[in-house]
Structures are given as structure tokens and as C-alpha cells.
Amino acid sequence: MGKTLPTKYTTVSIPKTLHARLEKLISTKTGFKSVSDYVTFVLREVVTMHETSQSPDPFSSKDIEEIKARLKALGYL
């Protein structure tokens, strides 16, 4: 049978004081099981925001004109 996914975690250092604050926060209301889960969630949210704002427009003006012609022919435009 196939292999299993190796555990793919690494360690990131954060100040102990911040860790303590986060522990306190997640124990009260966030529903997260651990500080690591919380930090992973928040970082994914942040990193995707930055990646999204960098996405280039993939279409050339020739592409766009061709697509607009088809959309017009089909009655979408």
C-alpha cells in the first residue's frame, strides 16, 4: 500500500509573552485547539491576502478582443 504523508511541521519562534497571550485568548473563545493551530490559521489568512493582491492579469489585449467577440455572438455582451 502507499506511503503516508510525512509530518510536515517546522518550528517558528515567537516571544513567550505573545505565546502566553495567545494561549489565554484561545482558551476563552476562539475554538482553536492550540496556539500552533491558531497561528497557522492567521498566517494562512494573511499570506493569501498578500498573494491575491499580487496576481497579474493573465490576458493579452488580443485575447480579450477574441473573447469579447465570442461573448457578443452568444448574447452575453
Binding site: 504523508l5 494562512r44 489568512e45 493569501t48 496576481s55 469579447k68
Partner: protein, 380 residues
């Protein structure tokens, strides 16, 4: 601004128009694929499955079933695999021709590794059950357990047949939404002919954004479902009569339902994000079948993905309430269930078979007319 493609890149695999471009492949270099895989190839090629450029390798596969993410950390919940028989002897780096059952070329692929898939594990992780009465699970058990990774290099000209005029690619919808000046677009996934409750859900969502993208799934369905052409014609009738044309786009998605409930809801969102949608509606038992999933499990799963890049609009079920004398939802109506007008699929099928149509409080007469006019509106 329309949504950025999933994983940051809208995949576009080039079409080779001339069939001769696929000549020269020997039998040993040819992999025969079924209709569902053919549909997957088209979706990869047009960017519906961006950022995926081919069939998954083992690391992506394991990432998806164990962590709901590709190896690149991008959210993904249902594996995209090419199951192959043991007699396929292609090695990593080889070029293979993917051909349909009639031998017509579908795509050229650069092969990656082959690996074994545990059907039981796949079923449990993706569908949450190994019950082969589940239509998605039974498909998994019917196919080979060996999978081959591969990146698509080129595809044959894609013909959408009867639905060619209402099939738009992600590239086309992105241009369309931009041309219409839509900054926010909500997608509505459906595999059903529209009832009034669907119309209310769509219009409630539309009230909050610039445009509505009605995107019915066409492809193999289960017995008792409406046929694809009935669904599309019914939507055309609904939109012609009850929607402002400037704020709605109807286009079909060629895709075979998996009935994977919550996991599939995420995939439905990812596909619509690739079409440029910023939002998607998720209602009761989205992509579910039978009683395998909780009624709102497909809403809860979105909490796991802060980086999905498309925002779900969650709705409770809509219905006509006799006491409210109008369309209401579990959220807005305090009355008991007996006051709700509802028809089971079985009852609806019988009604049409007997030459009757449902009341206008349940289905628009123009929609009912399309169904009634069809000789055989349901999948046998």
C-alpha cells in the same frame, strides 16, 4: 475586481486543433479514459481546476486526503487522479496519449509516478463512509487502485456539444464579469431544475453583490435527477421571465458530481473562484446525498479555510409557508413544518408523470412548462 485564480495562476493548456497532432503514439503509450476523466481533462485544460495542471502525484494526493491541501499548501479537498490498469507500463518522463473509449485523442500527458491508492482510505477520508450505496464511493470501488500522475501538455479541440452555446471558460467569464463592471459576483451551484426556493436564495444573494453566476453542473447524474437539458432550459425560462438580464449570467459546468457533501462544497467554491466569482452560496445539504452528511456540514467546513479566497454566503433552506403567505426560511419563519409547501423528488416525478404541474408557489409556471414539455425529464 474579479477573484484571483486559485493558487494564483489560471492554468491554460493549449488545444491542438488538428487530430494529426496526436498521431504517432503506439498502443503501449496510450491510456484509455472514461467520460468522467475526459471531463476532468477539459476542466484542467480550461483552468477550472487551477492551479492543477494534470493528475495528482502521491504527495498531492496524500496532502489532499489527510490535510485538505495540495503539497503547495493551497486548499484542495477531493483528489484529481488518473486511475490506470496494471498493464499500463508507462514510466515517469514518458509522453502518453489519453484517448477516449472510441480511440479519439483527448490529451497528451507527460507521465509522472504511479502509486497505489487505498480505496477504503479514499472513501473514508473524502466521503466519510465506505458504504458502496453512496454513489461517489461506488465509483471509487469500481476503478483501478493504481493511479498515475501526469502533467497535461496539450488537449484535443473541446466540443461541448448541445451545451456549446452556454459553456463559458474561466477566461471568458473573467472577461465577461469585468466588461459588465462587476466587482463582486456570487456563484450558484446547482444540479436541479429551479424551484421558487432556489430563486429566492439566488436573489437574496444577488441583493448583496453586483452579479449572479448561475452555474448548473452538466454530466452524469444519478437516476431520478433532472436531465441536463431540462435543467438548462428550465433556467433559461426562469431567467427570461424573472431576472434582470444585466445582473445574471447562465453558463454550465461540465463536471461529474461526487456527492461528497462538505468536501465537495469546498471544491465547488474553488472552481467558481477560478471563474472569477468572489462569493458562493452554500445552502442546506450542499452536494450531499441520502443522509450521509449533516444538513449544514457543508457550511461548517469553510471554517477550516481562512485562505480559500472566495467568501461563502450561508443560507438556511427557503420554502413557501402558508401562514407567512410567502417565501420564508428556517431563519425567518416561526411556523411549524406542516405549514410549508414541499414536494419530495419522488412526489414531483410522479406529478409530472401524471401530467400535473406543481403549484406556482413551488415552481414558476414557465419552469414547470419546460419540464412538462419534456418527454422524459428525469435520468432513468
Amino acid at each position: 475586481m474579479v477573484s484571483a485564480p486559485h493558487g494564483g495562476k489560471l492554468v491554460q493548456i493549449g488545444q491542438r486543433v488538428n487530430r494529426d497532432a496526436f498521431a504517432g503514439f503506439k498502443a503501449a503509450q496510450t491510456v484509455t479514459i472514461g467520460e468522467e476523466t475526459k471531463s476532468v481533462v477539459k476542466d484542467i485544460a480550461s483552468g477550472v481546476f487551477s492551479p492543477i495542471e494534470g493528475f495528482m502525484g502521491e504527495n498531492d494526493y496524500l496532502g489532499v486526503i489527510e490535510q485538505m491541501r495540495l503539497e503547495s499548501d493551497v486548499p484542495w479537498t477531493i483528489p484529481v487522479l488518473l486511475p490506470v490498469e496494471d498493464d499500463v507500463k508507462l514510466a515517469a518522463g514518458d509522453e502518453a496519449l489519453l484517448a477516449d473509449k472510441e480511440g479519439a485523442p483527448v490529451a497528451v500527458m507527460e507521465c509522472g509516478e504511479t502509486f497505489q491508492v487505498s480505496k477504503k482510505e479514499y472513501a473514508m477520508k473524502v466521503f466519510g463512509t465506505e458504504d458502496q450505496a453512496h454513489p461517489g464511493v461506488s465509483k471509487v470501488y469500481d476503478r483501478p487502485s493504481r493511479a498515475m500522475a501526469g502533467k497535461l501538455k496539450a488537449v484535443a479541440r473541446v466540443d461541448h456539444g448541445r451545451f456549446a452555446d452556454c459553456t463559458l471558460s474561466p477566461k471568458e467569464t473573467r472577461v465577461l464579469f469585468t466588461e459588465r463592471g462587476w466587482n463582486s459576483v456570487v456563484a450558484f451551484q446547482t444540479r436541479n431544475a429551479p424551484h421558487i426556493n432556489h430563486e429566492y436564495l439566488q436573489k437574496s444573494a444577488l441583493a448583496l453583490v453586483d452579479g449572479l453566476f448561475v452555474n448548473p453542473v452538466v454530466g452524469k447524474k444519478k437516476p431520478g435527477d433532472f436531465k441536463d437539458e431540462v435543467i438548462v432550459d428550465a433556467y433559461k425560462a426562469l431567467i427570461d421571465n424573472y431576472y434582470p438580464k444585466s445582473s445574471v449570467v447562465l453558463s454550465v459546468l461540465h463536471y461529474e458530481m461526487q456527492y461528497a457533501g462538505p468536501k465537495e462544497a469546498i471544491m465547488h467554491a474553488i472552481m467558481r473562484k477560478n471563474f472569477g466569482c468572489t462569493h458562493i452560496t452554500i445552502g442546506r445539504d450542499h452536494a450531499g446525498v441520502g443522509n450521509y452528511y449533516g444538513p449544514y456540514a457543508a457550511q461548517d467546513i469553510f471554517k477550516e479555510f481562512p485562505d480559500l479566497g472566495i467568501t461563502p454566503f450561508f443560507f438556511k433552506e427557503f420554502f413557501y409557508c402558508r401562514r407567512c403567505a410567502g417565501i420564508a426560511s428556517e431563519k425567518t419563519c416561526p411556523h411549524p413544518e406542516e405549514e410549508r409547501l414541499s414536494f419530495s423528488g419522488t412526489k414531483l416525478r410522479k406529478m409530472f408523470a401524471d401530467g400535473q404541474v406543481p403549484p406556482k408557489e413551488f415552481m414558476r409556471p414557465e419552469v414547470a412548462h419546460v419540464i412538462a414539455e419534456s418527454k422524459a425529464p428525469f435520468v432513468e
